[in-house]
Assembly symmetry: C2
């Protein structure tokens, strides 16, 4: 593991997929900017409000690929969630001083929207 950014990204990933969301948040910078499918999320409080509910419905996760260099890491992973059985995601994060300051987050919202429609 010679990528400091990947080390942080994996520690963050291990924490939230292990349902230790408070530990996960220790890797998130106070002024994080996250470009997610629904738009830009700014600040740790907004990030918590975005990510917390997802962690709450997580069943399991499995890493597909993990790469990084000094300040950037990319993770791709599969997740199983309560509403959606197969919900893979990809994150490209910028890490500064052991904290994630920027995250580009990609996943498919379509099955989550379909599950929401089916539930109402």
């Amino acid at each position: 593991m010679n990528s400091p950014a990947l080390k942080t990204a994996l520690a963050y990933h291990e924490a939230w997929t292990g349902k230790d969301f408070e530990r996960a948040m220790t890797y998130i910078a106070d002024d994080i900017v996250c470009d997610a499918p629904a738009g830009r999320i700014e600040g740790a409080d907004a990030y918590r409000a975005f990510m917390g509910p997802f962690v709450g419905m997580l069943v399991r996760a499995e890493i597909i690929a993990a790469f990084g260099d000094d300040d950037t890491a990319v993770l791709m992973y599969d997740t199983e969630t309560v509403p959606v059985k197969r919900a893979p995601g990809a994150e490209c994060v910028t890490v500064e001083n052991g904290k994630i300051t920027y995250s580009r987050f990609i996943f498919d919202r379509a099955p989550f929207e379909a599950a929401r429609r089916a539930a109402t």
Copy 2:
């Protein structure tokens, strides 16, 4: 560039984002398996039918991150398409003998479905 897989992944990416889809297809194995948001795509013909229309509506693309090792590469990129202005994607590909044999492909279908609904 010391990752043979990334070299192939970038050559493929450069070809399709440059609208040279036939050259792009030369990097796709005949028996490619692609796990895409809508499900599994098997074989180069099916992959062509999946990817061709997307290339047709591509306006521009920009790489966000690119990493790889001997046989695996991950690309994350932003695209602008005719129906959807900001449509980022991520691919994790397995490369054998200079051809992509497996692709895990993540993007958000939600804005494409919304554009389709708005058009009808």
